[in-house]
Structures are given as C-alpha cells and as structure tokens.
Amino acid sequence: EKIFVGDQVLRITPSDEEQITLLRTLYEVTELQLDVWRHPTSPGQPTDLRVSFSSLQAVKVFLEHHSISYSIMIENVQELLDEEKKSMMKSKR
C-alpha cells in the first residue's frame, strides 16, 4: 500500500499570469512527481498541489524564490488518511 508520510498539500495563490506560467512549468517537471489537485486558472485563484516529502524542499524553494504566495493546506497527508481509515473501521463496527 502506498503511504504518504510527510507529504503535504500546498495551496498556492499566483498573483499574475507570469506566476501562473511559472507554476505550469513547475508542474511539468516529472522528476518531482507532483500531484496537481487543482490546476492554476487565473490570478488570485488558488491551485492545490500534493508534494511528496522528498520534493517538498525543492518546491518550497522554487515558490519562495519567485515570491509565489502559498500556505500548507494539509500538513501530513498520511495523518488524514489514518484518521479516515479509523473512522471507516469505527463505522463498520
């Protein structure tokens, strides 16, 4: 089973078209294995990105270098999945 310990989901808010283009370029980098939950649409609209623990630093450095605003939407994906599983088990019982 694939586990997601340390993976985070970042909510990124590009402020202009240039930042949207930068994000689209970032999302194309296959080595980072990014999982786009919500694609960038227009300036001011958030885009959500699941980033594996191993790529977190690189992505955050990229965002900060280009002054692209972001926040951490999900701190640790696996913790939420564990809670979800626990809740399903409880309901089943």
Binding site: R11, R38, D48, R50, M73, L81, E83, E84, S91, K92
Partner: protein, 310 residues
C-alpha cells in the same frame, strides 16, 4: 434477515462491496421504483451497475447521473449514495421529484470507475484514473474524463500515460466510458447528463474544448445561476459557474462535451464542496452537509429538464 436502508450509515465512506450490497437493499426497499442493471464491465471485470428510477412507461425521456468517475473523489460516491436514497425516499412526498419521475426516468451510476475506486481502498488512496494497462508504458490508467470523443486529445489532456490527465490511446478506449456511451446512444432519449466531481465548488457546462460559447449558453448559464443560488441557501457554500473553458481551463475529451455534442442539451458537471482544508480527503462528517446542499441544485436542473422538453 431482511435488509433495510435504515441501517446504512450514509455519513461514512464505504467500500465497493458495501456499496454494491446497498444497491440491492435499495432495490429491495423500493421494488416498484428502483431497479439495478449492468451496462458493462470494467477493465478488471467489475460490473458497471446503474440504478434505474422509473414509475413505468416505455423509453421515457431520461436523466443520467454519475458519480466517482475520478475514483479518489470519495465525496462524490458518498453523495451519490445519499442522493439515490433521497430520490427513492422522496418519490410520492416531494412534489418536484414526484413530477419528474411521473414523466421521466433517472439513471444513476454511483461507482463509475470501480477499478480505480477499489484501488483507492486497497493500494493508493490518491488514485484518479482507470486501471487499464498502457502498451509500452509502465504507467497504468487513463483519465476517464479526457477519454470522450469531443475534441479528444488536445488542450488540458496529456498524451503521456504517466500523467493524471492521460487521454488514452483513442476515444472511448476505456470500457468504463464506452459502456456509458453505448448505453446513452442505445437509449436514445436521454435529455440531461449530470456528472459529479469534487472539489472546487463549481457548476460547469459545455464547452471545455473550445472557448466558443455553446449554442444554448444563455439558458445553461441562467439555469446554473439558479442552481448555485439554491445550493448556497443551506450553508452559504459559494459556487462559481460557467463553461468549463471559461471557468477552469480548456479541457478536451470531457463527459459533458460529448453529451452536448450528441444532442443532450442539459449537460452539467459539478465540482462539489471544498472547505479549503482537505481537498480530496474531505472528512466523512461532511458527507451529509455536502449531499444535502447539492440536492436543491440537482432538483433545479432536473425540474428544468422536465419543464423544457425538446
């Protein structure tokens, strides 16, 4: 032991087996209204079940609903269960759903991508695509919402099998898609297609593959506006609405574009609730609020379809 929908916990997420069992329970509980039939098999040979809500007649005009085409969007399958139960429970009580079912049939596919859904339970909760093997690639699956024959293979879809938006080798290559296409075509009297996704709080209509406005843009836009207004009435959840291309981005090969291009005027796709904190991992405590707020919007569309025959 007699089965009952009363003991089913709609406020929890369920496995595919539990959901398929529940479908039988629903049919048992409403034998004169609900039936279950199979429109095909998935890539891994799971049955593709559709619930039919009908009060009789022959080949009546129909509304198609589907949830879970992207398997990780668990809130959609859960909303589908609640909604299917609501349709059955409210017939004969709620005047709108009663009027609809007195003249039309409703077809509801709750687990549109069963292989992907089973995979989200067993191996990878984040799985979105089908589970078909791609020749020449180690990456599995096709995005079933890029696999339809409507501007297939262009913007917003990928030719890379490793991408989450891989459009597949050719239109309707996925059995899960082809089965719906075949069913809707052979039925010949489907008047509305409503495909339910999550998350980002949107109600969208054609086109996705071009920025050109659909011929029925004005009517679809007005209807979407009414639906999102009524949706917001319950908890204040704000939806945006518009064509897919204008509201999100150009996306080729989508369900609703195919439906619209095949003469189904009332083609919509929902993106259900986002609290801004959980994305695809919406806690089960939000299933009922999400389903409840979506219901009036669905009814708006279905009533409009009933009142505007074409």
């Amino acid at each position: 032991i007699g089965r009952s929908t009363d003991s089913f916990d709609f406020a929890s997420y369920h496995t595919i087996d539990e959901i398929y069992d529940w479908m039988d329970t629903l049919v048992d509980g409403h034998p004169n209204l609900v039936s279950k039939f199979q429109i095909g098999q998935s890539y891994e040979n799971r049955p593709l079940y559709v619930l039919k809500f009908s009060t009789g007649g022959s080949n009546r005009p129909a509304i198609w609903l589907d949830t879970g085409i992207h398997s990780r969007e668990w809130i959609t399958q859960a909303t589908g269960l609640w909604t299917a139960n609501k349709i059955a429970e409210e017939y004969g009580k709620d005047p709108s759903i009663t009027a609809i079912l007195d003249s039309m049939d409703i077809f509801f596919e709750i687990i549109t991508n069963p292989d992907g859904f089973a995979y989200t339970h067993s191996s990878n909760r984040m799985w979105r695509k089908t589970r078909s093997i791609n020749a020449g690639s180690s990456c599995v699956g096709v995005d079933p919402n890029r696999n339809w024959d409507a501007g297939f293979g262009g913007f917003g879809s990928s030719s890379n099998p490793c991408s989450e938006t891989y459009h597949g080798p050719y239109p309707h290559s996925e059995r899960e898609v082809k089965s719906i296409v075949d069913f809707i075509r052979s039925h010949g009297n489907v008047k509305s297609v409503i495909s339910i996704h999550s998350y980002s709080q949107m109600l969208l209509f054609p086109y996705g593959y071009t920025t050109a406005p659909a011929p029925d843009y004005q009517e679809l836009n007005e209807l979407a506006k009414k639906a999102v207004t009524d949706l917001a009435a319950l908890y204040g959840t704000k939806y945006t609405y518009g064509s897919i291309a204008d509201t999100i981005y150009l996306a080729d090969g989508t369900t609703v574009d195919w439906a619209y291009e095949n003469g189904i005027k009332y083609s919509f796709t929902f993106e259900l609730r986002d609290t801004g904190r959980y994305g695809f991992l919406l806690p089960s405590s939000q299933i009922i609020p999400t389903a409840t707020e979506t219901w009036p919007a669905l009814l708006d569309i279905m009533v409009h379809v009933l009142e505007h025959p074409y």
